[in-house]
């Protein structure tokens, strides 16, 4: 039987499959056994209570959905008092995502969230729908460095940083986060998008812009994980379009140590459990003893580069 456990810095996950922030809550215990998950990841929390964005908050498109929630929540005090205890009933480590408009407040949040039942703090510096313009710190190397430096100074908890796929040069931003003391990188948040209805000429979402979520995006995010993994030493959690065990393998081959899952868990509430079971079977069938053997194991060193080589059809 394969050993599915992976280490993300000081934290050990029993398997590399975790939900993505915002796509999960303890209420999923209604349908699956949360103790099977690699980690529990809470929805991004902000300091003040927030209502979030106007409805509609989701629209289907040709090959995926766009969504714009706007980080609603009851604020950090309520969160620590009422929601952390809900998660504390389960065994997997709790990752708490947080967001803010200012670096100072990000740092203060890091400190205030450093309570015993929180195992990891995830800095969501990349939410594209937090406000109506779609901007965020993870678009910029300097903001990223300053924000993570400030948070690092205020917490000893493992600090994960969620990056944006909308950034042009994700490698530089990833390196800035690493330099500033991040313990792991979460790649990536959603792609800033727009849908306009052709029946009434209006944007389909109440907030106009939304984040695109679709299995179609996996090749883009996978490329980012691959590029970043070659340049940083800290572990990476790959998020984007994972819907099956092979996708977990693909992300790990590209250099991720674990994956996060959003869409697949919406579509099939039991998907994460199925994926964990399938991953175990996948490894066992192939005689893989430790799932960590897959991390960065892509065979890219001896790529055939002669265009005139007579290659087989290759599929």
């Amino acid at each position: 039987m394969v050993d599915l456990s992976v280490k993300i810095g000081a934290i050990t996950l029993q398997n590399p499959v975790q939900p993505a922030s915002g796509a999960f809550s303890w209420e999923y215990n209604d349908v699956i056994d949360l103790n099977r998950l690699g980690a529990l990841v809470a929805k991004t929390i902000c300091r003040e209570p927030r209502l979030g964005n106007p409805t509609p908050r989701m629209a289907e498109t040709e090959a995926g959905i766009i969504q714009s929630i706007g980080l609603p929540g009851k604020g950090i005090d309520y969160f620590i008092e009422h929601i952390v205890p809900e998660y504390a009933k389960f065994k997997p480590p709790l990752v708490v995502s947080c967001s803010s408009e200012s670096i100072e407040d990000f740092a203060a949040l890091a400190e205030e969230l450093s309570v015993p039942d929180v195992d990891v703090i995830e800095a969501n510096i990349s939410c594209p729908t937090r406000n109506a313009t779609g901007g965020n710190f993870a678009m910029h190397e300097n903001y990223t460095r300053d924000c993570i430096t400030a948070m690092r100074a205020r917490t000893k908890k493992p600090l994960w940083v969620k990056l944006s796929p909308n950034a042009g040069d994700i490698v530089s931003i990833a390196k800035a986060a690493e330099d500033a003391g991040a313990d792991a990188l979460v790649i990536a948040n959603t792609f800033l998008s727009l849908k306009i209805r052709t029946d009434n000429f209006r944007p389909a979402l109440g907030n106009k812009f939304g984040g695109l979520v679709s299995p179609a995006l996996k090749p883009i995010v996978l490329r980012m994980v691959y590029q970043v993994a070659k340049q940083v030493k800290i572990p990476i959690i790959g998020i984007g379009g994972v819907t099956k065990a092979e996708d977990v393998v693909e992300y790990m081959l590209a250099g991720a140590s674990a994956v996060g899952i959003g869409y697949a868990g919406f579509r099939n509430p039991t998907a994460l459990i199925t994926i964990i079971d399938d991953l175990e079977a996948w490894c066992d069938e192939r005689g893989i003893k430790k799932v960590t053997e897959l991390i960065g194991a892509v065979k890219d060193q001896d790529m055939e580069t002669d265009t005139l080589a007579a290659a087989s059809v290759g599929i």
């Binding site: 915002g22 796509a23 999960f24 809550s25 209420e27 999923y28 209604d30 349908v31 699956i32 056994d33 929805k43 209502l51 979030g52 409805t55 509609p56 908050r57 989701m58 629209a59 289907e60 498109t61 040709e62 090959a63 995926g64 959905i65 969504q67 929630i69 609603p72 679709s214 299995p215 819907t243 099956k244 092979e246 697949a264 868990g265 919406f266 579509r267 099939n268 509430p269 039991t270 998907a271 459990i273 199925t274 079971d277 399938d278 069938e285 192939r286 005689g287 893989i288 053997e293 194991a297």
Partner: protein, 294 residues
């Protein structure tokens, strides 16, 4: 690392095959399951609505009036249907092991659903949310619905019959061809009346008169509605006037169905304060007086 070669699994390569799992859970202790039901029948009720009957895992039979399932509709066209569709349970037949839905065929999901044939698999998640609640003190209640709302209200008749509560159901529709659920209501002893756009009887004035009559005759210990903003407002007004409690089932676009994503928000007014609630988990049935409508 040496990797033992394994022949490719042709059924496990792509999105949908992998996503169409389900039935992995049904632990008895879980409240909700992702079930693979089997289609028993899927027939047209009229030009716009179909009625599907599914044989399901016994745990799915816990569903009661006002609760919903989240349905993974097949594709009508070979491209993927991305999100589940929420549907109120229309009827639960515990003896046969069936759940039923009454649905309007409109967009891609419901058109895909319309293509289901007996014997087909159908992945449904549920039961989800809080349904209607009947107080033991009530003797007679009034149900007022329109369109798809009638599908949501229909199982109230079942619940009321079990609790020996009398039901008057006012069914509003555009024209006689699309009146639905009358048989179901009447079969369970409810009195029904139909109001139509085609003969003007569905006008708010007229419905108000009917409701006032029912109130006067002691037939309205509680109000239930779904499917029309106009009728919701009317029931709110009369409810307030006569101090009649009420419940309304709300709709909103959903993603998760579990209360996690905050997509399905609706506005409510409680003690003069506006706030948002999740239709999927805080509802879909809400206090009639608190709903702001749409």
């Amino acid at each position: 690392m040496t990797i033992r070669p394994v022949p490719p699994d042709p059924n496990h390569n792509y999105t949908n095959s992998a996503l169409r799992t389900g039935d992995v859970d049904p632990y008895p202790q879980r409240q909700v399951g992702e079930f693979i039901g089997t289609v028993v029948a899927n027939k047209w009720v009229n030009k716009e609505y179909k009625h599907v009957i599914l044989k399901v895992h016994p745990h799915a039979l816990k569903a009661y009036a006002g609760q919903m399932f989240h349905l993974l509709c097949p594709s009508p066209d070979g491209a993927e249907v991305w999100m589940r569709r929420p549907m109120s349970v229309y009827r639960v037949d515990k003896d046969a092991g069936h759940i039923e839905f009454l649905y309007k065929c409109e967009g891609r999901g419901t058109r895909g659903m319309a293509m289901l044939e007996p014997g087909d698999d159908f992945n449904v998640t549920g039961p989800l949310g809080h349904g209607f609640v009947l107080e033991p003190s009530w003797r007679n209640v009034v149900v007022l619905g329109r369109g798809v709302g009638l599908a949501t209200l229909a199982p109230l008749s079942q619940l009321a019959a079990e609790n020996k509560i009398g039901v008057t159901a006012i069914l509003s529709a555009r024209h006689p061809d699309v009146v639905m659920s009358r048989d179901l209501f009447e079969g369970l002893g409810a009195k029904t009346m139909t109001v139509l756009d085609s003969d003007g009887t569905s006008a708010v004035d007229n419905v108000e008169k009917i409701l006032e009559g029912l109130i006067a005759h002691g037939k309205a210990d509680a109000f239930f509605t779904c499917g029309s903003n106009r009728l919701l407002k009317l029931m709110q007004r009369l409810g307030k006037k006569h101090n009649i409690p009420g419940q309304v089932a709300m709709e909103q676009i959903m993603v998760c169905g579990f209360g996690a994503c905050y997509v399905c928000m609706r506005t409510f007014e409680v003690d003069g304060q506006r706030l948002l609630r999740r239709v999927c988990r805080d509802g879909p049935v809400f206090n009639l007086q608190e709903a702001v409508g749409w």
